[in-house]
């Protein structure tokens, strides 16, 4: 990197390029740290395949088999779903995507608190929908690689016996298999929450603390 900037130091056009689009020193350091981490992390060089992604979802679903038929209450189901999200999903990355640009201005404690609340919020909202909408056992049909992600395709039945399509998006970008999205009949949870949280933020003029407190009050 040093050679690169030294070579172009006296070129006016490249100087503009360096100050405009090149990463800041802090960011360069972060990138260097990341690549160093990648070199030492054994998981990063070991990509997932479609079968492993399928197994990952299978393991998660084993935790709440027979969605509607089991005897547990809604609250118990939501608690189990929340635990499964934390264990099998990458809630931090989903929370980060939902918070969008505000993630970079959030303090460490804000982003930690938001991630925590967001996990409960996701579990409550989607646990209830999943339980009511797909009220029978979820059967995995197939899995495939999709861009840098894996898509695990499954079918459940609604109370009126209509087939419900649920796709589970699994990523190995963090170095291990993690669930990042649940797509119910084509509707992406990640997409819906990015849109919802952005709308909530803009209503609160971007105030993250108010957002956290209001989400907390909803639980």
């Amino acid at each position: 990197m040093r050679n690169y900037s030294a070579r172009f130091r006296n070129n006016a056009a490249s100087r503009q390029f360096l100050t405009g689009a090149m990463p800041t020193r802090r960011r360069m350091l972060a990138m260097a740290a990341l690549s160093a981490a990648a070199a030492f992390c054994p998981a990063a060089g070991f990509p997932l395949n479609a079968d492993e992604a399928r197994e990952h979802v299978q393991k998660m679903l084993a935790a709440f088999k027979d969605v509607g038929l089991s005897q547990i209450s809604d609250d118990e189901f939501i608690a189990e779903f929340e635990e499964a999200l934390g264990k099998f999903g990458d809630v931090q990355i989903i929370a980060r995507a939902a918070l969008g640009k505000s993630w970079r201005i959030a303090s460490k404690s804000q982003s930690r608190e938001f991630t925590e609340i967001f996990q409960s919020y996701l579990a409550r909202k989607y646990g209830r929908i999943l339980r009511k909408y797909a009220s029978r056992e979820i059967a995995i049909k197939s899995s495939r690689k999709f861009k840098r992600l894996y898509e695990v395709n499954s079918t459940a039945r609604s109370a009126s016996n209509r087939p419900i399509n649920i796709r589970w998006m699994v990523s190995d970008s963090s170095g291990e298999a993690k669930l990042v999205d649940i797509i119910l009949e084509g509707v992406s949870m990640l997409g819906a929450e990015r849109s919802e949280i952005q709308a909530m933020l803009s209503k609160r003029s971007g105030d993250i603390d108010t957002l956290i407190n209001d989400l907390k009050a909803r639980l």
């Binding site: 972060a30 990341l34 995507a97 970079r104 929908i129 997409g191 709308a199």
Partner: protein, 251 residues
Amino acid sequence: MLALAISTAAIINFALPAAGRMDEDPFEPINRTAHAGNLVLDRYIAKPASEIYGSAMPAEFANAVQRISSNLSLPSSALNQFLQFQFERGMHNSLRFIINSTIGIAGTFDVATYMGIYEYKTDFGTTLHNTFGMSSGPYVVLPIFGPSNVRDSLGFAADTLLNPLYWVVPSMDAAPVVSFNALAAIGKRHANATIIDPLYYESEDSYGQTRLYFTQNRDFELRGGFPGEDYFDPYIGTGEIYEELFGPFSE
């Protein structure tokens, strides 16, 4: 009539820009007004009515209403399937309509399913998409009928005109037709409460959430396979692009 609908669709198709980005919503101001009106109608009429309907009506009665209503949509489905070159499905729907309208007493009983003749739902919006390659056009919120887009609004109008209730019953006797449709709509509202209630009442941005739900779900129905090419990977560019969006990666 159908020819007119198709030629109108063709003209609009040329006028429409190629499939726009999902976040483009040129009719947003008027859509928001329509959505707000629909919310009021739902809060004070459709939702309470559907709750009463769901708890007071015997399930068998509600199911019979749904069966009659779906039987009446069969001629339109069948015609659309032929237009989509789905001949087997079209035959199923045609036979189904004949059997259930006669032996099944105007669709009250579903005899055809026992005979192995199933319903394949489709609509004119799907025909415009599959056969005529029409793009959806901008998002539209129809008063009373809810979320749609330009193409599917046209399709909805065509399907409505193809409903036998509108040819058989003379316009003088509109009251029973309207009340039956209202009853069927309330039953449908009840059956879909799990989806509609969170969208309308548990979101702070019910307009945005409803639009997203409709657009993605309709896309899924038409193309079968979500995610599409524009699917957002939350890890994308964990290097520069990612940091540009979200800040440094480490916690």
